[in-house]
């Protein structure tokens, strides 16, 4: 922190502000001064700064200075004069909006400024929200969904007509999702209502800050990309990142790091307060349980993930805020739910169990500890298996170099555009030409073709079907004046209930009952949280699983609740459930490949990992930096092929699906496959090594990019993942209504099942705009087709086959994973027949 009050010649702060800074022994930091200058000149600006750099104050200072200097409000004849919002603050989390509001209220109060500031979230009472529309505050702090709703209201021109500044907090976290797409469209709309609006982005360090800077300003299609000013605050002291080197044997596979639990407990005991990050909810549950089982020192450890009851999560957060004090905690085991959010001053250690999967993800998580710039953040990485040792090392080196691997901003989603188009009509009648110009001024949509835009408008109006049968039920209509209008008020109401891009999976509540007598009570029981309905659909009464840190027994599903009982002392039988799983980033994958290919670099590895790689070098070979290595070997009565692609689990799964189809056609009789972040293992009934050696088929033919053509199409036909993607698109685009609390009882068979809609649409109109949107999603989302395509193009002509007579050391991890992961996809029909025959034979015996 700089402290030389009279160093900068022109006064950058009005007296009142200068006095307030001086009273605290502060002076504006250079980046704060830069933002003040940008504010005076009415320029948009992106501030990239590490946590603890006074980012929030920097963002708000120009608005506070401007508001403090404005003339006092003249009372009109009717009492209070109406004035629109001056500054709009948008945060990805409502808790963060509330917290930042508190932080900004402090200087306002202490300087005695006449500035009104309010929050508006889903929790704000209806009467207050109504009042905010009529008498808005100077500064409104809210979430993206509320911005969309306000823009769709009649009052939008009054509210935003004199908007001076819009501030986007944690912009890096917003822009790469559909939420970011909607927000970009809303920003374009805000700019139309208030042409002199300037946008301020606050962001953590990202791979391409210029892209974020461009997101903030108006784009002109065809012209060079415009960018906002870029201000970068100096980085803090480099973080100290250690990798745990256990004395125990490092496992071949798995993600639990059981071997390291005692060392993790020791680290927690030495720190004031720690966050123990993991990658999935299942991992969080298991690590939490393992920590408690070994917790001899009585450390206070809590659990935090997205499935737990909100009240429970708030309690944990409150305890975290109390730090290491008497009411506080020593550690919390958390998933990405704690990646963003309120700063907890007492956290001085971040422990990462399992590999971090991305350099920027690790940096973000490390930043959750120690918010003082002059002291280093501290992190301990705990690899759970041997490949993760390599990955952790790659992540640490990337972190030391400050490398970022945040994903680039993608083309805006069409389902989001459909929602926005309807929202625009709800707000006021629109002309297609003007709206097209407005939409393409937003960075994600600047390459949008007019023809595609028109199809989206057509979709919103009548569903966009070639059979034009829905004209009479059109949601928006083109009237004689050339404007599109909403057909009736119900359409507007429907839009309001469906605003937003976050689509929840169908969830069921988990309710604890005591069924000691074997009876299910009619009501009552403690609510433990929520889980995806998909999970329970695979359970049978009596199955045990982990949730909220304890072993539970599934009793029954009752409407939208899963009834469970405690099953202490039993082993959880069902090993895991679906949670967010992030694939290994391209950047870390490259580093891991580089590390493997460079034996000089192995010095930094633990001895057992080094020996493993030496053995691989002796018995097989090491995958080269730019090639694709494929090993084949027999084992038992099967033949295996291991593909070292390093493209992440999702892309490997897709590759596995496509490759096995192709092998089937080539007569190689594939029997199954398993994928992890590093490689793909396929097994077959025929000798794969011999077949490839005879070039029947040739390896380069097997891995030809054309598998992404017909094979992909054919597979997508049957893919449950694509149906899930379609469901999201259909809900966001407004084809199917979101279900709201209380509506669940309307009966499942009466609602339109998105799976059936998908099937009908796909067979009758495969080029429908919504299917186009679904495929675009799938390319990046659950199927990661884009990454697979990049890999296949990259390794063309560089695929190396290593035929072995037995399993290689490097193949051991993937082979031990066989049978652990559920294989998604198409096998249902055959298994159904198999299961049916077995069961009926048993039943009729």
């Amino acid at each position: 922190m700089t402290t030389s009050p009279n160093a900068s010649p022109p006064p950058i702060l009005p007296d009142r502000f200068a006095t307030w800074f001086a009273a605290r022994g502060w002076s504006p930091r250079p980046h704060q001064a830069a933002l003040l200058a940008a504010g005076r000149e009415g320029r948009s600006v992106l501030l990239v700064a590490p946590t603890g750099a006074g980012k929030t104050l920097a963002g708000f200072l120009p608005s506070l200075v401007d508001l403090a200097a404005r003339p006092l409000m003249v009372a009109s004849g009717r009492g209070v004069a109406r004035r629109g919002i001056h500054t709009l603050y948008v945060s990805p989390l409502k808790a963060l909006a509330v917290d930042v509001a508190r932080n900004v209220e402090r200087p306002i109060a202490e300087m005695g400024l006449e500035i009104s500031l309010e929050t508006r979230t889903g929790d704000t009472p209806a009467h207050k929200r109504q009042r905010q529309k009529i008498a808005p505050p100077d500064i409104l702090m809210t979430t993206p969904e509320q911005v969309a709703l306000l823009l769709g209201s009649r009052e939008a021109p009054d509210l935003f007509g004199s908007l001076d500044t819009v501030i986007f907090d944690e912009l890096h976290a917003l822009v790469t999702s559909k939420r970011g797409d909607l927000l970009a469209l809303d920003l374009a709309r805000l700019r139309r209502l208030s042409p002199s609006l300037r946008a301020v982005g606050l962001s953590a360090t990202v791979a391409d800050p210029h892209e974020l800077a461009a997101w903030l300003v108006t784009q002109t299609p065809g012209a060079a990309r415009a960018e906002a000013d870029l201000v970068t605050a100096p980085a803090g002291v480099p973080a100290i990142v250690e990798i745990l080197e256990p004395e125990a044997r490092i496992p071949w596979s798995g993600h639990l790091a059981r071997h390291a639990i005692p060392a993790v407990l020791e680290a927690i005991a030495r720190a004031r307060t720690s966050i123990v990050f993991v990658n999935t909810r299942a991992q969080a549950e298991l690590v939490f349980q393992d920590l408690w089982a070994a917790n001899d020192q009585g450390l206070r450890i809590a659990l935090h993930h997205g499935s737990l009851d909100v009240a429970q999560r708030r309690k944990v957060e409150a305890a975290m805020a109390a730090g290491g004090g008497p009411a506080g905690l020593d550690a919390v085991v958390a998933t990405s739910t704690l990646d963003l959010g309120i700063d907890w001053g007492d956290v001085d250690l971040v422990i990462h169990v399992g590999a971090p999967k991305g350099a920027s993800r690790l940096a973000q998580r490390i930043g959750r500890s120690n918010h003082r710039l002059d002291e280093p953040s501290r992190a301990l990485l705990v690899p759970a298996n041997r490949f993760e040792v390599l990955e952790c090392l790659a992540a640490r080196e990337a972190n030391a170099e400050g490398t970022q691997d945040t994903p680039p901003i993608r083309a805006g989603a069409l389902d989001v555009l459909a929602q926005h188009v309807l929202g625009c009509a709800v707000a006021a009648p629109f002309a297609a030409d003007e709206l097209f110009a407005e939409v393409t001024s937003a960075l994600p949509y600047r390459a949008l073709a007019r023809e595609t835009f028109d199809r989206v408008v057509d979709f919103v109006a009548t569903g966009g079907y070639a059979l034009r049968v829905y004209e009479r039920w059109a949601k928006i209509r083109l009237t004689k004046d050339g404007l599109w209008r909403v057909s009736n008020p119900q359409i507007a109401q429907q839009w309001r209930l469906n605003v937003g891009t976050i689509v929840e999976m169908p969830m069921v509540k988990v309710r604890l009952i005591s069924d000691a007598k074997g009876r299910i009570p009619r009501w009552g029981g403690k609510l433990l949280g929520e889980m995806e309905a998909y999970f329970f659909e695979t359970l049978t009464s009596g199955d045990t699983f982990l949730f909220g840190g304890e072993v539970l027994r599934f009793v029954a599903l009752r409407e939208t609740e899963a009834l469970v009982a405690r099953a202490p002392g039993r082993d959880p039988r069902i090993p895991s459930y679906w949670g967010g799983k992030f694939p290994l980033s391209t950047h870390l994958a490259e580093r891991v490949r580089g590390l493997l290919a460079d034996p000089d670099h192995w010095r930094v590895l633990p001895a057992q990992v080094r020996e493993w790689l030496e053995l691989q070098r002796a018995h097989s070979r090491l995958p080269g930096r730019t090639e694709l290595m494929v090993e084949t070997f027999p084992r038992g009565d099967r033949h295996y092929m291991v593909v070292y692609a390093f493209e992440g689990r999702l892309a490997h799964q897709t590759l596995g699906m496509l490759l096995t189809r192709r092998m089937e056609r080539a007569g190689l009789r594939p029997l199954g496959f398993v994928a992890n972040d590093y490689c793909l293992g396929v097994w077959a009934a025929t000798d794969l090594g011999a077949a490839l050696a005879r070039r029947r088929p040739a390896l380069d033919a097997l891995f030809d990019e054309d598998m992404l053509g017909d094979d992909l199409e054919a597979w997508l036909d049957e893919s449950a993942l694509l149906k899930r993607t379609f469901r999201n698109c259909a809900i966001i685009a407004g084809l199917i209504e979101r279900r709201h609390p209380g509506q669940e009882k309307s009966g499942r068979q009466m609602t339109a099942s998105t799976d059936l809609v998908f099937d009908v649409l796909r067979s009758h109109e495969p080029d429908h705009i919504l299917l186009q949107a679904t495929r675009a999603d799938a390319a990046h989302g659950l199927l990661d087709v884009r990454r697979l395509a990049d890999m296949l193009a990259r390794v063309k002509g560089r695929i190396r086959h290593v035929a072995l007579d037995r399993i290689s050391p490097l193949a051991v991890p993937i082979l031990t994973e066989i049978g652990r992961e559920p294989v998604p996809g198409t096998a249902g029909e055959e298994m159904l027949a198999e299961a049916a025959e077995a069961l009926m034979a048993e039943a009729t015996a």
Binding site: G463, V469, T540, A556, I736, A752, V760, E834
Partner: protein
């Protein structure tokens, strides 16, 4: 075709002594009387939703008709019975496109055609050919839309629809959920035939008490054949596996 021939991919079951075959399309075939039975076709469901602002694909009626045409062509039934909810709402027949209307008329020509009233389409007024009845008794079987309560005589020999039965069964890796015929030999409930008609799990409260659990068999619709599964194979319906052997408590 003799009464003992089972159409390709079908699954045989008996209801009150009569032999029936569940077909992969979701229709039931009663060989002895050459009768084809379908339930819950929900024609014009797409346009019914469109009326209320959800512009679902308008292809559902055509897709359902195609399936029905294939069944009729394969079996040449003397009689077709629709077990109610042939239309998604009472105004469905009015919205029927002329082309679909003609296809329906072609299906009806040369055979008996009986529409049983459903709860969705009971008030239908438009003329769509065939006879109408609230329920019908033919031989040992009774045809109605909503199944009668389980412990009444009315349940004996009943073929019903309304509930859209579906079942989830566990397979080697995860589970598979399909529409199904549900029968305990006393009565049978048919799966929904409509291309946009969803399914309700057999474990749902709506099915409670309708079947004798120990004799319940679900005939799941596969892509080309129907798979028979005993009740205990059905997720959420089986005997509890904690060794007590007691049934899942009923509600």
């Amino acid at each position: 075709m003799t009464s003992e021939t089972i159409p390709l991919g079908g699954s045989r079951f008996e209801v009150n002594g009569e032999v029936l075959v569940g077909l992969p399309s979701g229709a039931a075939w009663w060989p002895a009387t050459r009768t084809l039975i379908v339930a819950d076709m929900h024609f014009e469901k797409g346009s019914s939703f469109a009326r209320r602002g959800s512009l679902l694909p308008p292809f559902d009626t055509s897709a359902t008709l195609s399936r029905l045409e294939a069944d009729v062509a394969a079996l040449a039934p003397a009689r077709v019975i629709s077990l109610g909810d042939a239309f998604h709402d009472p105004f469905g027949p009015e919205r029927l496109e002329p082309g679909a209307r003609a296809r329906l008329a072609a299906l009806q020509s040369g055979r008996e055609w009986l529409w049983i009233d459903g709860n969705h389409d009971a008030a239908t007024v438009a003329e769509i050919g065939g006879e109408r009845a609230s329920e019908a008794a033919i031989g040992a079987l009774v045809f109605r839309h909503e199944p009668a309560p389980g412990d009444t005589l009315a349940a004996i020999g009943e073929l019903a629809g309304h509930l859209h039965p579906a079942a989830r069964v566990r397979v080697a890796s995860g589970s598979v959920r399909r529409h199904c015929f549900a029968t305990d030999g006393r009565r049978a409930i048919l799966p929904a035939y409509g291309s946009l008609a969803g399914g309700l799990d057999l474990a749902a409260p709506a099915f409670a008490g309708l079947f004798a659990a120990e004799r319940l068999v679900a005939h799941l619709l596969g892509d080309a054949r129907v798979h028979a599964m005993p009740a205990r194979a059905i997720v959420g319906f089986g005997i509890s596996r904690d060794g007590t052997g007691r049934r899942r408590a009923s509600r």
